[in-house]
Symmetry: C2
Subunit: 387 residues, 2 copies
């Protein structure tokens, strides 16, 4: 057990991976809720929707037609947040040097992809077996490898990868970028509550010429930790500690540990962490890719079972930059975050609003309580039992 | 005009007040929206609701009865996130020193108040005149002064404040804390979209024994700026620059500037900034309190006029800590943030989800475009014109 007293008193916990604190108020779960209710996750959709821009054979917004794909399908986002071609930006030379201090900007180039998980419109990761999830991880690995800088030591690893010597379905392949980019963020917004506008199972891949804030902060923290702790890795030590403590583990297999981290902000926040030092997707062996698929399956199925609903979340992979210093690449440790908003039921969510935005993130149930509930939710997917 | 090119290309902007970057994708507003729709703000409520726990004379959850108040009314939150009395926490002395690196926690004491803005159930700040808003600012000032540390130089300022020598209505007064606290966060969650569970106009005041992350980060940045720029204040310089540039100003009066900051994340994010060096509420003169009320009035009315709806937002005041070093107090500069989620209409919001949570905040319309729209929305409140 963790210090028992933390189940009763308000306290702050430190997130060593981001270098920031959050407030935990365990007694606050007793609060009644009279506010906004979420619409429960839709579960009756057709397997094929002629109006969906992600279903096979359908036309898309800008005129292209989707191929008749079998597993995954990748294309450039029709409304990309960043583009490969745009004018270069240089700040106006200003007579006023306050501008250069207080109105700072820099151009960002890059490319945004959309990647479907399945041709079926009406399924989610929770409905797919580990074997069915594997092609998604393979496609992520291919896209990541295609974008690696030739000077990144990981590109030598990629060159030797058996997976990448196998021919790939053409609809899962992307061309190399027209210029070297710095970082690739793979993420999924699932459910209307997380801003997803199309239930067809899919994720996004945004690549940018800049290193974004969150992975940037994590790399700084991981680098500092190694320097201060005899070269040991922050997440390597964390995996070891959680396996000893047995307080926040949701699930594990040979290659991955699934925990509600000590510093979780969202009520049922989860991290999937590689047990050994994996820097990026291309470091994974074939067995590890399958174990990773199995971990994703265990998380998403438990989520759906928890409140017997199609559980909304945003998830994202953090791994080594496409281009960076040797140190940045070496200090990276592959992991995946899941941030789900639901708190008490299929319709009552946690709002991260006033205090959270102005002062500090705040949570009610403890990560230990959340982990215990998710541990208890394994087994068959609730909707299959109902059939 | 700002560098015109920033209206067309994807770029990052730097927030010097927090020390972080965000991604701006101006062309992305052309994206169609097929996702979740918000319920439009409710505007037909009774002036008195017998079931509301904030209306005068009504019973509350834990048995107390509200007084028959005229302006504001303050009470301790029945479900406070922090409390004055709780067991002290000291981490278990651990044989394993990984715990002390990776499982860090500290106890947090404090007190949470709820503060109503008016006895009327069916109004909002947008419906109130500056004169009607003034009692709220006076109550904030009283509560802040009551919590100041005797060693804080601001407590001498408070001691001389004419306002505080005037008798106050008993329902707007709070007792001094039983122990010295570090910070007071005043914030409002308005609207169901921002997690507000009761439309009766009110805000919250959370005081804590710790300095929360956001004001903590701002103080670090403001301190650094002064040290590097000959003792000039970051927000003082910023006010000066924005008044010169005239690109992001929404409104101003003698004492306050209202801008969509260069680094705004939320589509119509706004900051109210004191024009002179005001460290905290107790530094404001009587005229400045009225000008502050006027600024709040101008922001909230313009928000409602923008999409002709009761506009949801979270807002919060940042000011000097209750207790802190001389430097922290001297480097503080009074300002207020408004974070509203709506993007395109009364029912279409911006989601800060996958990419934003995993990588970096992202916005579509530029702050310059947002400021121009809010500048054009002044004048009478739209719902009064309809009557
Ligand atoms: O205190 P309330 O109004 O019950 O709750 C609201 O504001 C709090 C402070 O921002 C949040 O932690 C809650 O998630 C939100 O629903
Ligand atoms: O790209 P989509 O799915 O259209 O949009 C969704 O994800 C983006 C990336 O997290 C967000 O910026 C949008 O607010 C959200 O609605």
């Amino acid at each position: 057990m963790p210090d028992k007293i933390l189940d009763d008193i308000s306290h702050r916990r430190y997130n060593p991976l981001r270098g920031s604190w959050l407030l935990v108020s365990p007694h606050r779960t007793k609060r009644p809720w009279q506010g906004q209710q979420e619409a429960p996750g839709i579960i009756t959709l057709p397997e094929y929707d002629p109006k969906c821009y992600l279903c096979p054979r359908n036309p898309r917004a800008q005129g292209d037609t989707n191929p008749d794909y079998d597993h995954t399908f990748v294309f450039v986002n029709d409304y990309s947040a960043v583009k490969e071609q745009q004018q270069d930006y240089e700040a106006e030379p200003s007579s006023n040097d306050l501008s250069s201090l207080l109105l700072r900007a820099e151009g960002v180039k890059g490319k945004c992809f959309v990647l479907t998980f399945s041709p079926k419109h009406n399924i989610t990761l929770a409905d797919m077996s580990a074997e069915e999830t594997l092609p998604i991880i393979e496609t992520w690995t291919r896209i990541y490898a295609t974008h690696l800088s030739p000077t990144n030591p990981l590109s030598q690893v990629a060159a030797k990868l058996e997976l990448l010597s196998r021919p790939a379905p053409p609809e899962s392949v992307v061309p190399p970028p027209s210029q070297q980019l710095r970082y690739m963020q793979i993420f999924e917004n699932k459910g209307a509550a997380m801003g997803c506008s199309n239930p067809h199972p899919h994720c996004q891949v945004w690549t940018t010429s800049t290193l974004p804030e969150e992975p940037g902060a994590e790399i700084v923290q991981m680098t500092k930790y190694r320097a201060e702790n005899g070269g040991r890795h922050l997440l390597g030590d964390y995996v070891k500690l959680e396996m000893e403590k047995q307080e926040r583990i949701v699930y594990q297999n040979e290659s991955f540990l699934v925990v509600c981290p000590w510093w979780a902000i969202w009520p049922f926040e989860v991290m999937i962490i590689a047990k050994r030092h994996v820097r990026a997707l291309v470091d994974l062996t074939e067995q590890e890719r399958l174990d990773y698929a199995d971990s994703i399956q265990e998380v998403t199925r438990r989520y759906d079972n928890l409140f017997e609903t199609s559980f909304p979340y945003s998830s994202g992979l953090h791994q080594a930059p496409l281009d960076g210093t040797q140190e940045e690449i070496e200090n990276s440790w592959f992991h995946m975050h899941f941030y789900p908003p639901l708190l008490r039921s299929a319709t009552v969510r946690k709002f991260l609003v006033g205090y959270e935005l102005m002062a500090e993130p705040q949570r009610d149930i403890t990560p230990e309580q959340a982990a215990a509930r998710l541990r208890g939710c394994g087994g068959e997917l609730y909707r299959n039992k109902l059939q």
